[in-house]
């Protein structure tokens, strides 16, 4: 095997001509404007400006530590719970700045659901996992309405047929892939319109991964989905648009087919072809 090494590329090579794809100029669901994020003194995101379209899947790719997960978590203010962090700039969802004073963060997180890398069902029954958000948000008026909403969410997460006869068994007895779809059902139960997914399939086997990917594809009809993934083939398979992050900056953002067949930036090219990262 060759032992030739290549130096890591520098951000200086990124041309300033990066532009949001023209088709994203209208009807954007989420818009970041010059967003900066700090962990203490460390600036983890630098001047991120991006428009995310409704009812499409947008993938964030980039090497570890590039800021993609941090940026994802700024979209429903999940970073608020990390001490000594600070945000500058704006994030607009449907035109409203989610960092404005008086913002109801609980309501924001209901509208902007999140699914994490490691499935994290509550140590409760399958039914209660999905019903939980509905109960604490008082979103179901009667038992039958609650049951109906649980069923609807499990169906949307493509899990109903597998669990309908054991709704009251522990969620922890499910397989990893089922647990992840349960977490998606739980997020869907409170009727969000945006779904953030942080490496949702990275701990799953190929068959469970495929089910999650199919689910993502089906869900985009009704939801705006943003997915962080280390797996570039996954980004290529499931997303309509892809954003490439590097050292806290957004290097390139374009249609997914463009990013993976003919990216405009050399840095993107080097990353997607495995020349670094």
């Amino acid at each position: 095997m060759s032992t030739t090494t290549r130096p890591l590329p520098s951000l200086r090579n990124v041309t300033s001509s990066r532009q949001t794809p023209a088709e994203l100029d209208t009807g954007c669901k989420i818009e970041a404007e010059k967003l900066n994020f700090f962990y203490g003194e460390n600036r983890a995101l630098q001047d991120i400006s991006v428009k995310i379209k409704p009812n499409v899947v947008t993938a964030f790719i980039g090497p570890s530590g590039c800021g993609k997960s941090t940026f994802l978590r700024t979209l429903n203010r999940m970073n608020d719970i990390i001490p000594a962090t600070r945000v500058e700039g704006r994030v607009l969802i449907d035109g409203t700045d989610i960092y404005r004073s008086g913002m109801d963060v609980v309501e924001l997180r209901r509208r902007v659901g999140m699914v994490f890398q490691k499935s994290n069902p509550f140590p409760k029954s399958i039914f209660e996992n999905v019903a939980y958000g509905l109960r604490i948000n008082a979103m179901a008026g009667s038992k039958s309405e609650l049951a109906g909403r649980v069923e609807e969410s499990l169906k949307r997460a493509a899990l109903w047929d597998e669990v309908k006869d054991r709704l009251h068994e522990s969620a922890l007895a499910m397989s990893g892939g089922q647990q992840q779809r349960l977490c998606i059902a739980r997020a869907l139960a409170v009727r969000p319109d945006i779904l953030l997914m942080d490496e949702p399939a990275s701990a799953l086997d190929p068959i469970a991964t495929q089910r999650i990917e199919e689910l993502v594809y089906d869900l985009k009809t009704n939801y705006t989905i943003v997915i962080v993934t280390h797996n570039m083939q996954q980004a290529a398979r499931v997303s309509d648009y892809t954003a490439f992050f590097w050292l806290g900056r957004l290097v390139e953002y374009d249609r997914t087919d463009k990013i993976f067949t003919a990216p405009a930036q050399k840095l993107t090219e080097d990353y997607v072809t495995g020349r670094f990262g």
């Binding site: 095997m1 060759s2 290549r6 890591l8 067949t261 993107t268 997607v272 072809t273």
Partner: protein, 225 residues
């Protein structure tokens, strides 16, 4: 955080090496076929007619290498374009090999007749077609778009010569019916050489696509959609 060049790159380089080998074989066969015609050397034709096997083997081997690289490495961007280009160039080179055989067959028939005329334009066409092939493959190796563009420009010259050869030989055929058979073979040869130029053009277009992602076929350029 530096990393080794993965074995994928070595395999891509090996693929490129095999394509060049195939290009060299194809070019050599075109050269031998035209030389056989000019020197009326039947042994050269026989060598071409029985010697197609190495090119055919390479054709299959290169396709298999491309399939394997696509399946196992799922390449992206420039690597993806390079492998797709390699598949297409492979087909073009195999066709060039076949056309050399066609020229040899026509040549073999031709030298059973007295010469129709001194051959001037056909050797010229042979030189141009070989140069186009060589430049197209050089452009592939060097990822040189301007050299690829030169190949595209050369194609018009080859088309012009083919028309000239046809007109010339038509005059001979009209004057002397005895020349019809050998003259038709020469017309066929010019047609085969013109087709070789078309394959070199295809290769040049693939090189431009591989390097710049621009599709210049059918009077492009248009961005990849």
């Amino acid at each position: 955080m530096e990393r080794q060049v993965p074995h994928f790159r070595e395999e891509l380089e090996a693929l490129q090496g095999r394509l060049l080998e195939m290009g060299g074989l194809a070019e050599e066969r075109v050269r031998a076929a035209v030389h056989g015609l000019v020197s009326r050397d039947g042994s050269l034709f026989d060598r071409i007619l029985i010697g197609d096997e190495p090119i055919n083997q390479l054709h299959v081997e290169i396709d298999n290498r491309c399939f394997r690289l696509l399946a196992l490495h799922q390449p992206m961007a420039t690597d993806l374009r390079a492998i797709v280009a390699a598949v297409k160039i492979n087909t073009d080179l195999e066709r060039v090999g076949d056309l050399a055989v066609n020229i040899a067959e026509a040549g073999k028939r031709y030298i059973t007749h007295p010469p129709v005329k001194q051959l001037i334009d056909i050797p010229k066409m042979g030189d141009i077609a070989q140069a186009m092939l060589r430049d197209a493959l050089d452009a592939f190796v060097k990822r040189d778009i301007s050299l690829a563009q030169q190949v595209l420009n050369e194609d018009d010259r080859l088309d012009g010569l083919k028309t000239q050869v046809f007109r010339d030989l038509l005059t001979f055929m009209l004057k002397d019916q005895g020349t019809v058979e050998p003259a038709l073979d020469l017309i066929l040869v010019s047609r085969h050489l013109e087709r070789i130029g078309d394959h070199a053009t295809n290769i040049a277009e693939d090189v431009i696509f591989m390097v710049s992602a621009l599709d210049v076929r059918h009077h492009g350029p248009a961005p990849v959609e």
